[in-house]
């Protein structure tokens, strides 16, 4: 979507010239042995984001298990292409992105499914399912 033919993921191609996804930079110390960082992630949700509308909260704390994140050098290019940062970590790290002009396109670095309980389903999962119900296969 950015027209970068050799865009790479640092896990698959360490040292590639244009890594759009890079090892996570976290305020937490990395786990021993280079294991994926796992734990709680604080995310501030942008006021006009879909994610904020679903959670009805400005800040959420969610479980994550992830070793990679968006390379901040490419954030501007992603924003210009419509992939907007919808949730940020304490140091401004991109934690949630949403695609503008799309009925429902949300990607998170955290795992909302881990917080879901039978009596308290996760709002983002419910929002996704609701969008699938109303839009779904009706799209061309």
């Amino acid at each position: 979507m950015l027209g970068i033919a050799d865009a790479e993921h640092a896990e698959d191609a360490p040292g590639a010239p244009r890594p759009v996804v890079v090892p996570i930079a976290c305020s937490r110390p990395p786990a021993a042995g280079g294991a994926a960082l796992s734990g709680s992630l604080v995310v501030d949700l942008r006021p006009d984001s879909r994610t904020r509308a679903l959670y009805q909260r400005d800040r959420i704390e969610a479980h994550h298990f992830c070793s990679f994140e968006m390379n901040p050098d490419y954030r501007g290019a992603f924003e210009r292409a419509g992939l907007r940062a919808a949730g940020l970590g304490p140091a401004g790290e991109v934690r949630v992105v949403e695609l503008s002009g799309h009925p429902f396109f949300v990607a998170t670095l955290f795992q909302p499914q881990r917080a879901s309980r039978p009596d308290a389903p996760d709002p983002l999962v419910t929002g996704f399912l609701s969008a699938a119900l109303t839009i779904g296969r009706q799209t061309p």
């Binding site: 979507m1 993921h9 896990e11 698959d12 298990f65 992830c66 070793s67 990679f68 695609l99 799309h102 009925p103 429902f104 396109f105 949300v106 990607a107 998170t108 955290f110 795992q111 909302p112 499914q113 881990r114 879901s116 309980r117 039978p118 308290a120 389903p121 996760d122 983002l124 999962v125 419910t126 996704f128 399912l129 609701s130 969008a131 699938a132 119900l133 839009i135 779904g136 296969r137 799209t139 061309p140």
Partner: protein, 91 residues
Amino acid sequence: MIRIGVVGDFEPGFESHVATNESLAHSAAELGVPVDVIWLPTPSLVGPDAEETLTGFDGLWISAGSPYHDRRGAFAAIRFARERGRPLVAT
């Protein structure tokens, strides 16, 4: 019946994979609608049939679990959802 395709290589030992299925069941119960959840292994979305497969789903969930067995399959699903306006969540 809502059909959700979960794009990823299911591992029963991965908590997040099990939680993906469970969370969809929780939310479906809340909405009062039946949901059919089908995992789509990434290598199965690489060939020319991928588009036809993906067309059959109301929403695509791009699963956790890195690296994928074939990331081209995950890319194909993400591109399909982006270009067709099909609901997508990636966690």
